[in-house]
Every structure is written in C-alpha cells, then in structure tokens.
C-alpha cells in the first residue's frame, strides 16, 4: 500500500489526512488565504514522504466569489450578446422592490456579436462573417469565450472563430455541448473566468511538490491537475462533494445504504441524500447566482449553524437567518460577539466544554450574559432560553431536511442520518427524532471528512452532447457514434479507463425537464421502458412520445483502494460534568480518543473529540464500531 495524502482547503483550516499502512494521521493547519498553496505545502512537509496526493480546493470558487477572475470577452451570434445579462428573465426575490441580479461576469462593452446563424438542425442559414471578426481587437483580454446559438449541434462556426483569434479561446461547444443558450454561456464564461487563477495555483503546487496531483471535482470524482486546468469550473463544489464521497465510503464500511448527510458548521448546514450508496446528482448548480451545468453532487445548503443568532421577534423566540459567522462569532469566543448564538446555548447547557480539544477557550460567562438578556425579554430563565434556542434550531433544521427530501421524492424516515461538521453531533439526536429517523452515524475523522473524501474518490470525467429528437427517430448507430466520440475524448483525460457509464436525458415531448436514465445498450424498447418506470416512480404517471435531449457518458479510471486498520482497545477515560438532560445533572464526558471498538455507551453522556462533541441523550445509546465510528440509536 502506498502512502497517500488527501488535503482539503476549507475556510479557516486546511485539513489533511494521511493513510500509511492502514494507519491514519490527521492534521489541521490554518488556511493561508493569500496563497492557499502555502498551507498545503506546509502540511505536506510536516507529514513526510507520500506517493499519492489528492486535493480538494475552493480556489476556483473563491476567485468567482471575490470577482477576481480573468478579464475576458464574449463573442455571440448577432442579436444575442445580452443573453448572459438577461438570464432567464426572472428576478431572484419576489417581494423585494430593490432586487438586483448578480452582475454579469462580462460587461456589455466586452460582449461582441458576429454575423452568423445556425438553425436547430445544424444547418448554416447565415455564413460566418469573418470580416466582422477581423475588425475586432482582443488585445486587452486574457481570454475570449465564444457561445453561438446551436453550436452544440454544429460547432463549425465556433471552431472557425478559434482559428481566427490569436489569444486563448474557449468554445461553448467544447466546454459544454448542451442546449439552452443561457446556461451554456454562463458555464463557459465561468470556466474561462476562473481559469488563469486556477492554472497558476495548480502550476505552483505541481512545481513545488513535483508529483502528480489529483483534483476532486464537484461530481465527487478526481481528475489530474493538468485536466483540471482546462475545466476548472468542474471543481467549484469540490470540498462539499468530497464530504459526501467520504460519507458513502464510511456508510459502506458500517453497512448503511441510505443516508441523509448533514454537515453543520458555523454559518450553514449542508444536506444531501445518498440512496443505495449513490449520491444524488444535479446539473442545475447555481453558484453566486450563476448557473453551472456540469454534473455535481446535489447538496442543499440551509442557513443554520453554530453562529446563528437568537432574537426576539414580537414575542417569538427566533433563530437565524442572521449569523455571527466565525468572526466575531458567538459571544463565548470573546472576539467581540455580543449576540446570543446557538453555540452559546450549547455552552451554557454544559454540552460544550469551556476548553475545546483544540485548545480554544470558550467563555461561559459571556454566553450566560447574552442568553440571560435575551430570556429577560420573554420572561424566561437562561437555561430555559438556551433550551428554547436549541429546540427552535432543531425544529427549523428538521423542516428543511423534510422539504429537501420530499422535493427529491424521498421519505426521510427511510434513511439514517450521517452527521458531521463541528456543530452537527450536538443536534443530531433531536433532529433525527423530529424527522422520524432511528439511526445516526457519526464518523471518526468527522472534522477532516472532505480530506478523507478526496482519497476515496476514483478518477472520472463527465461528458455530454445534446441531441434533441424523438428517440424513435434516431438511429442507434448514430447515437453509438456520438458516444464513441465523447469516449475518445475521455480516454485522453482518464489514464486507465476501467468502466464507462452511458446515460440519456429523456423527457416526454412537450415537457421542459428531463430525467437521466442509465443506458447499457442501445435497445430503445428497454430504454423507453426504463424511462416510463422512472417517470412513473417520480411523478406518478406515464405518457407517450419520448424525446431524447442529451447523451451522457462518464468514464471511470482505476479505483483508489484504501484500507484502514481496525482500532485497538484502550482504556476509556472520562470525567464528570454538569449538563442539562431533562434537568441539570452530572454526566460522564468520554474522551473520544480513549474509546475502544464495540463499546456501548448509554445516554445521558457526552463524547468529546478533537473535532466534534457528541451529545447522547437519555433515550439514546451510542456504540462504536471497529473503526470507532459512532452509531447512535434511540
């Protein structure tokens, strides 16, 4: 077994997980936002010699959020340069008179039009006016993006433009040959926008480490850093996606198949669904208000975390949506936060220690003061107020999880809850009870889960090609040909292709949404039957005239097998602390690091780890598996 290292750059910390001969070492280093690579290199240096390096990075995301991307131009079909700005013509808030859409990444004066036109069948109905194009000067741009109408059917004009322009050009027909002009343009533009920054970052890392780097993408699979440079927008959600991949890995280890993951941190909570050890995917990600059509793991963010502020609203105790974030954070951080937060409530109830395992001091008096002040407004004692804050928070979270599950067609009661993130395991018991979930899984290494996710992800790359026609009007050989072309490209990206998953996005004619159906052979009867069944299951009915919209192919490389040794038996250590379980009582607090496999703990008790604190309530038990994952039951 080679020594392998996964690293994930989060907001405050850069997390590392090293697996060497089955033993695991974790490390957290403060992130270095100026040059995130510094923290990465520091971590690698500290952990010694490695043979495999996988990396999740928000570098592309940050340059998008901070609007620090490249200066780029856009070329469109004449009459359509504003498609990028108009978007889908809707406004993001219904009842806000002052609402603004996110500013387009390319200003109007940098959007150019050329005379040309291709129709929906791919026929040229107006030749590309090359003279027009030659008049344009692109010297002041770092790159040019081209998005012409119907280029996914016929890319000739886009290709011709690439030949004629001297500076780097990215074509929508290469980045995302998929129909719907606004989303295609948006994806192509974002990709070009984050490209130079990402490229510099990756070169710097490659040169410094002098080894191959595997970058995790939003779809939860890796690609080489060389290829990540060409499609950096595919890495935008890499951190959260890696977290979900780790959840799949650990769920499989423990023997769970269907889980709802809940990653609750300081400001927000990420929720996703895993069914039969497969995450749900979406091609409708929206980042900072901009759509990105690349397939990514479907993760829903709810604005509730440890930093959410409790307040009194006309006699109601409310929590959020405002948050104190990490700075100044909850009152107990002593960084100037003067508002009662969820973390403050957890602290005065005795659920959190006054000194966290990582050394952070929490000031209980400060929490008590802000919560007491809040309670006075509604005539409640501080303890009752704190309990109320948690009840409201957990009820809000439960509502959100329920709506997310129903929206995707699932009954949450059939799932287990997979909980991680600093704040998650303090709340999971109550949330599980509220949504009717019986079992909770809290992973070992929950604080570096995304880093672990980078290690358990296999290389894979997604390809798409739109082809809009009634399925019955297509010839299998034609479709086979389209798949082959995608796969030829794929083989240039994935070194050792181990398997290929083909699928089709289908719909009934007249509909405007598609369902993705796996395709094992081009047997139209079978494909149509599978589509009918899927549609029936999701929407409760079937119809006639099935239309093909997209062909998709995903190529997988060699799986990265990692083995982790079973944990050894140790002598459990604990101390007693006062905490609120129905009333304030002394309960044992176990140090997570001293627990052994197959231990069973009965609530009420608390398990305190380096990265998280687990609350086991009176009606719950917590048992540890051979790898020290915690399984809680009610």
């Amino acid at each position: 077994m080679p020594t392998i290292l996964g690293a994930d750059i989060g907001g405050t910390f850069t997390d590392f997980i090293l697996v060497k001969d089955g033993t695991v070492e974790t490390l957290k280093i403060p992130s270095t936002p100026q040059n995130p690579a510094e923290a990465v290199l520091e971590g690698v240096k500290r952990l010694g010699k490695i043979e495999y390096f996988a990396h999740g990075t928000t570098y592309a995301t940050n340059s998008l959020i901070e609007k620090k991307g490249a200066k780029i131009a856009l070329i469109t079909t004449k009459g359509f340069r504003d498609v990028l700005e108009i978007g889908r013509q809707n406004r993001p808030e219904l009842y806000d008179f002052f609402v603004r859409k996110p500013k387009p990444l390319i200003d109007r004066e940098d959007r150019f039009e050329v005379e040309e036109r291709i129709d929906s069948k791919g026929r040229v109905i107006k030749q590309l006016n090359e003279k027009d194009l030659k008049k344009l000067n692109f010297d002041k741009y770092e790159a040019v993006t081209v998005c012409l109408l119907f280029s996914y059917v016929n890319p000739d004009h886009e290709k011709k433009i690439k030949e004629l322009i001297k500076i780097p050009v990215s074509l929508s027909s290469e980045v995302l040959p998929e129909f719907r002009e606004y989303e295609r343009t948006s994806t192509t533009v974002i990709n070009a926008y984050v490209m130079p920054a990402m490229s510099n970052y990756l070169s710097f890392l490659e040169n410094s480490l002098n080894m191959k780097i595997h970058i995790i993408q939003s779809n939860g699979n890796t690609i080489s850093s060389k290829n990540a440079r060409i499609v950096p927008a595919k890495t935008i959600l890499s951190g959260p996606a890696a977290g979900v991949k780790a959840a799949v890995f650990i769920s499989a280890m423990v023997g769970f198949k269907d889980v709802i993951t809940m990653d609750m941190g300081g400001t927000s909570c990420d929720v996703s669904l895993i069914e039969n050890l497969t995450p749900k995917f979406t091609t409708e990600s929206i980042i900072e208000g901009y759509p990105i059509k690349f397939p990514s793991i479907d993760i829903h963010t709810v604005g509730a975390g440890g930093g959410s502020i409790a307040w009194i609203d006309e006699g109601l105790l409310r929590v959020g949506p405002e948050s104190m974030g990490a700075y100044p954070g909850p009152a107990c951080y002593s960084l100037g936060g003067d508002k009662p937060t969820v973390t403050d409530a957890n602290l005065i109830l005795g659920y959190l220690p006054e000194r966290l395992a990582d050394g952070t001091e929490l000031d209980r008096k400060k929490s008590f003061k802000v919560i007491k002040e809040l309670g006075e407004k509604i005539n409640l004692e501080p303890i009752q107020t704190a309990l109320g804050i948690l009840k409201v928070t957990d009820s809000n979270m439960s509502n959100a999880i329920r709506v997310i599950s129903v929206e995707r067609g699932y009954d949450p009661r059939k799932f287990s809850l997979f909980v991680f993130g600093g704040a998650g395991p303090l709340h999971s018991g109550r949330i599980a009870e509220e949504i009717g979930v019986k079992t909770i899984l809290i992973p070992r290494y929950s604080g570096v889960l995304s880093a672990l996710g980078t290690l358990v992800s296999e290389p894979a790359c997604d390809f798409v090609q739109s082809r809009i026609a009634l399925l019955r009007d297509c010839h299998p050989l034609e479709l086979e040909d389209i798949y082959r072309k995608m796969e030829e490209n794929g083989r240039k990206i994935i070194d050792e292709v181990k398997r290929i998953e083909r699928s089709m996005d289908l719909r009934y004619k007249g509909q405007s949404y598609e369902i993705n159906i796996p395709v094992t052979s081009l047997d139209f009867d079978k494909i149509e039957k599978n589509f009918d069944n899927a549609h029936e299951k999701l929407y409760g009915y079937t119809s006639t005239e099935i239309e093909l919209v997209n062909l998709r192919s995903k190529l997988f490389g060699k799986e990265n097998k990692i083995e982790i040794k079973k944990a050894e038996k140790r002598k459990a250590e604990n101390y007693m602390r006062e905490a609120h379980f129905d009333e304030i009582i002394e309960v044992p607090v176990y140090y997570y690091d001293t627990l052994s496999p197959k231990m069973n703990l009965k609530g009420p008790c608390i398990i305190e780890g380096k990265e998280t604190t687990v609350l086991v309530r009176s009606n719950e038990t917590a048992s540890l598996d051979e790898y020290l994952n915690i399984i809680m039951r009610r």
Binding site: E183, G409, Y513
Partner: protein
C-alpha cells in the same frame, strides 16, 4: 403563551405549505406549475382565516381566502375535497384551479388549499388566454365550488365533465391529481401538528397577532397622511384606475372609488386580484420577513366599488385582469406610497407582462406558443432599476431560444436589452428587452400588452422610461391585437423600461 412553542408551530405551518408546494411542483404536468411555479399553497383555520401561505406567486396572495369563504357555508364532511375556478366564486381567472380540503380531527380543525395555473381549461383558444374575449364563457370551462372527492371517494363524473371540456385531458388529470396529493400531504401534516399541540387554536390566534403586530409597527413608522394617485390602462379609450390611500396611526385605508367602470374586453379584475396587488404592495413595503396570513391584512381596509374594472360583475371577461391590470394597480399604489414612504418605493416598472401567443398548424401538427417578456424595473432613491426582468406580479422564466426553435416553426432574430429605454435620473431605470421573432409558417398571433401609449413614469424628478413598441415587419401594430401572419413575417416586441429616480445631477 410559550414563545418557543409558538415559533416552532409557526415554522411547522410554513414548512407544511412549502412541503405541499414541492409535492405539487414535483408531480404536476403543466410547465406553468412545474417550471414557473405558478401555484400557491395555504393553510386556513376552522373559521376560514388564512394562517400560513407559501411565498409562491403574488397574484394568488389575496385570492386564496375567497376560495375558502365560498366553501364555509356549504355542507362538508371528513374526506371531502372541493374544486373550483370560477373567478366570481373564489377563483381568479379560469386557468387557476383551486382545491380546498377541509381537515377534520374529531371536528373541523381547518382547511388546506392549493391553487395552480393549468395550461388549458378549454374556451375559444388553446391555452385559455384569448386576447379578445368579451365574456367569461369564451375563456374556458367554469367550475363553481363542487366536491371532486366526497368522503374519500373521487367523483368520477365531475372529473369526466372537466376533462371533456379541456384540450389536453391527460395533462389536466395529472395536474389535478398532483393537487389532490399535495392537499392530502397538507392534511396529514396539519393533523400531526394539531394533535401534538393541545392548545393549537390559541397558538394560531397568536400567530395571526404576530403578523398583525409586525405590519402595524411598520405602518406606525410611516407618516399620517392622505394621498391620491391614478394611472391608466390602454383600451379603446384610456381607463382610469384611481386610489386614495389614507395612513392613520397603524392602519391603512385604501379606496379605489373613482376608478372607471368594467369594460367589454378582458382587462377586468375580480375583487380578489385587486386585493392580491394591494397585498403584494404591502409585503414589499415591509422590508423584512413576514409570515403571510390574515393578520398582515387586518390593519388594511380596502374599498373596491362593485362594477368597476377592479371588481367586475359576472359575466365580464377577466383573463387579462390577472396579467395586466394587476400590474397597473401596483403602479397606482406605488405612486400613492411614494408620497408616504419615499425611501421604500421605486419608480414605475414596465407595468406589463407583454403576453404573446402564436398558434397555427405546421406539418399537420397544431402548435400554440405562449410567452411573456420581461422589461425594466423602476429605480429607487438608492439604486438603479434592474434590466430585462419580470416585475412585480409575475416572475416566470423565459423559453430558451434553442428550445423554442427546436419545438416551434419560429426563428428568433434578436433577444437583447433595449438601449436607452430606462428613464434617466440620479438613479437610472432598468432597460426593456427587444425580442424579434420570424414565423416560419402562416399562423395567428395574439398580443396583450400595455404601456404602449403611456410611458412608465419616473419618480422624484427622474425621467419617464420609453414606452413599449410592437412592430410587424417594421410597422407599428397596436398594443392589443390578433393578427394573421404570413410565413417569414417578423414581429418585434420592444418592452418598456423602468422609470428613473431623482433629478439627474447635471454638474
């Protein structure tokens, strides 16, 4: 009253309306429901008072309570579900079909309601949005409140009657089923909450009080004053909409007396649509999160004289009242509130939805294409107005050009922002849109658009925006018309911009 339980119940009720919404959107068939979320879900108490409504579509805001009110004096039992779309009996316009389920524990505990825009309910034209209707009978099948489910049993004869009157049976049946299932989700969840909290009724009373208090407090911050405002709809002659708003202490008196009479066209509104526009305005003015329920509306008294275009009588046609007149009501109210709370309003926005319906036969297949086009939003004292968006009472998505050209014999020549169409000023109004479509076959076009004669006004010295323009092969055509088109004709719709705000600093 326990402030914690109160908040939890409040959130649960909102959660139920959201869950009903996602269930409906997920299982519905019509693109209107599925993609544009043109639907609403709400919970009422046993007295028929609105206690929670998901924030889906503004035009349904005031209309949901009317649906429940028509049911209240009827006889119903556990397991009954009512269906209705009659604008004069609890509906809005005919394509909006409403399902009301009374919810029983041992006795009646409340109602759950869904309303959704169905893409066809019969009538003279596909899509049930005729541009030239003069009576409601031309606009589609009228369903008064009847039981579609009686004591848990689907009334097949009612379903058959409805389905025989619409063009797309399968779709209608799918959409109605989706609504039934959303109602039943709401029913189960509401019962859960009711049984879990023994003092449920007292808590809902408090929730109404909570919303009421917020609105009263916000109103109290505004100056006491009586103001007037008026504006016009463009018909054979101009039609005046007039309002007098009196702000007194923590209440509002809104009186539409002086508004012109109902007309023989379809710009008429039923009372509930006018109320929806009023409520939209109030919610926008609050500038904070609000739980939408009857409490919000308690401090607001509205007078809408019967027989005016804002409170039409049967059998007047109403289909465009929803889409066009509702926008003008917001303009008029915005004008009134600009004199009460100048910092909370914006200049006039495009004030129309630019409804375009193109239909015909191509390659032996009937087609109907319906779209609405965005425009400019008005500027405020603090900000420019947004460009190329749907404003106020609607927020539907466009149809991508690559989708449109694949499905219809249409060719889009231009889709761009309209230069210099926003009113200038210290802050500039948003730009309108230019949409230019060439038809590839002989066909018929219907246009229902406004703001072709009177431009959206600027505010506080800001300039007016450009009016909208409709062109056929470069020649001007009216704001509302139905025309035969020849193959290769080009229709250009230039939508209005938004008004500017504040005098332009000339230095």
């Amino acid at each position: 009253m326990d402030p914690i339980t109160l908040e939890i119940i409040r959130n649960k009720l909102i959660g139920i309306t959201e869950e009903m919404g996602v269930s409906l959107v997920r299982t519905a068939y019509s693109p209107n429901i599925k993609e544009r979320k043109d639907c609403s879900c709400a919970i009422f108490d046993r007295h028929g008072r609105l206690i929670a409504q998901a924030e889906h579509i503004p035009v349904h805001l005031g209309a949901m309570p009317f649906a429940v009110k028509t049911i209240l004096d009827k006889e119903f039992k556990k397991g009954d579900v009512f269906i209705l779309n009659d604008p004069y009996l609890g509906g809005t316009h005919l394509p909006d079909i409403t399902l009301v389920s009374p919810v029983f524990d041992k006795e009646l505990i409340g109602f759950v309601v869904t309303r959704a825009h169905h893409s066809d309910v019969g009538g003279k034209t596909p899509g049930s949005m005729p541009s030239d209707s003069t009576e409601i009978y031309e606009e589609g099948l009228i369903i008064p409140p009847v039981k579609i489910i009686s004591e848990g049993k689907i009334q097949r004869d009612i379903v058959d009657l409805i389905l025989s009157n619409v063009r797309t049976k399968k779709e209608r049946e799918g959409d109605i089923k989706a609504q039934i299932s959303a109602n039943s989700t709401g029913e189960v969840r509401l019962l859960d909450v009711y049984r879990r909290y023994p003092d449920f009724d007292q808590y809902t009373e408090e929730i109404l009080r909570y919303s009421e208090t917020i609105v009263r407090k916000e109103l109290k911050k505004m100056q006491d004053i009586k103001v007037r405002s008026e504006d016009y709809l463009e018909w054979e002659k101009l039609i005046k909409i007039r309002v007098e708003v009196e702000k007194k202490n923590d209440e509002l008196f809104i009186d539409f007396s002086g508004t012109d009479k109902e007309i023989s066209g379809n710009l008429n509104c039923v009372e509930s649509i006018t109320l929806s526009s009023v409520y939209y305005m109030i919610i926008g003015l609050m500038q904070r999160d609000l739980m939408i329920n009857e409490g919000c509306y308690r401090p607001i008294k509205v007078k809408i004289p019967k027989g005016t275009i804002l409170n039409a009588k049967k059998p007047k046609a109403v289909v465009a009242g929803n889409v066009e007149t509702s926008q003008r009501i917001v303009d008029v109210l915005m004008g009134a509130f600009s004199k009460i709370v100048p910092e909370r309003v914006i200049a006039q926005s495009q004030g129309t939805m630019n409804n375009i319906i193109i239909g015909g036969t191509h390659k032996n297949r009937n087609f109907t294409y319906y779209e609405t086009i965005g425009g400019g939003m008005g500027a405020s004292l603090f900000n420019n107005g947004e460009s190329g968006v749907h404003c106020h009472m609607t927020n539907t998505l466009n149809t991508p050009i690559e989708s449109l050209e694949t499905e219809y014999p249409l060719h889009v020549l231009r889709y761009s922002l309209r230069d210099n169409s926003g009113g200038s000023g210290n802050h500039k109004g948003g730009s309108g849109i230019i949409r230019e479509i060439q038809v590839l076959t002989d066909c018929i076009i219907s246009i229902i658009s406004e703001r072709r004669e009177i431009a959206p006004k600027g505010l506080f010295g800001g300039q007016n925006a450009e009016k909208g323009v409709n062109l056929l092969n470069g020649k001007k055509i009216p704001g509302k018309c139905t025309l035969k088109l020849k193959k290769e004709d080009i229709v250009t719709i230039e939508t209005p911009g938004g008004g500017g705000c504040g005098q332009l600093d000339t230095e």
